[in-house]
Symmetry: C2
Subunit: 178 residues, 2 copies
């Protein structure tokens, strides 16, 4: 079976600061046509910061879509064409005030494969030194430090709903314990 | 620090079949106002089907946002108010033609916390019996069977980018090996 779809028409619906929306006409595998609703997003990066004592640093942040305060690893949105490793290093500095001796790639996730182009790259940061937190204007986060094993248990017990944090913490577990 | 934001105004931008878009004015923690771009989605469910011999069943599917064929665990979109366990059981039947003796909750993920209300619930299905695949019209998927350990290695080697599949496979690993 050949699995592919061809774009026939693109209608611009919305151009935002966070994402754009298009409505696209596509030709399916069987020659029929279908409309595809699409979010365009530049992607992001997240970093799991683990110190010498085995603590991980996360941030508590109000997330508007859920009207909930969520616990997440430090993360940020990429500018178009921006290097994701450099963006991760910058977010680590901004959100928890840390610099790292080693920054190791954990792979990426496609969070919403059906309708959103976003890709989030994940890193593990070790050898941490701490300075001052430097948040963007209008950004409010609380830093939370806990043993990595506690964060791992929270993921397994479904107490950390954020997708990137779950995957990055679980992958880090295997790297730290291999 | 109090972490919260209050919605002041909601503008409807787009009403689609997959998602809706609104532009909302919110009052931030410090009293300032900001615009929030928001995707509204009913959420979804995914299922990791593992048989008695330790094989997992996944599907290969063309994903329009990436113009790539991706390997994913069986999954589907929830109708508004639909029970996610029942939806998971149905998708298992539709996509790989299987019924399961046991369906165990693995928790949920919020794939895109910054701007999308989508929540994906995850299940582990065991005790599988196979019948016929029954796809929706316009749905084209190839079923792939492999040892669970191979799927786990593919996640760790960054060969399966889909977010829900990564988290669900990693959580399943711990359930199978505890």
């Amino acid at each position: 079976m050949v699995l592919k779809e061809k774009t026939l028409e693109v209608e611009e619906i919305f151009k935002g600061k966070v994402f754009d929306v298009t409505l696209e006409k596509a030709e399916l595998e069987n020659g029929q046509q279908a409309m595809r609703e699409l979010i365009h997003h530049n992607g992001g990066v997240c970093v799991v910061p683990v110190d010498e004592e085995g603590n991980v640093y996360m941030v508590k942040q109000f997330r508007y879509p859920f009207k909930e305060v969520l616990l997440e690893v430090p993360a940020g949105k990429l500018e178009k064409g921006e290097n994701h490793r450099e963006c991760g290093v910058r977010e680590l500095k901004e959100e928890i005030g840390a610099t790292a001796e080693s920054v190791e790639y954990l792979g990426c996730i496609y969070p919403t494969v059906a309708y959103d182009t976003e890709i989030i790259h994940m890193y593990l940061a070790r050898g941490l030194s701490f300075g001052e937190q430097r948040l963007d204007e209008g950004e409010f986060v609380d830093v939370v430090k806990m043993p990595f094993s506690q964060a791992f248990d929270m993921v397994m017990n479904n107490e950390i709903p954020d997708s990137k944090t779950q995957t990055a913490i679980l992958k880090t577990y295997f790297l730290l314990n291999k």
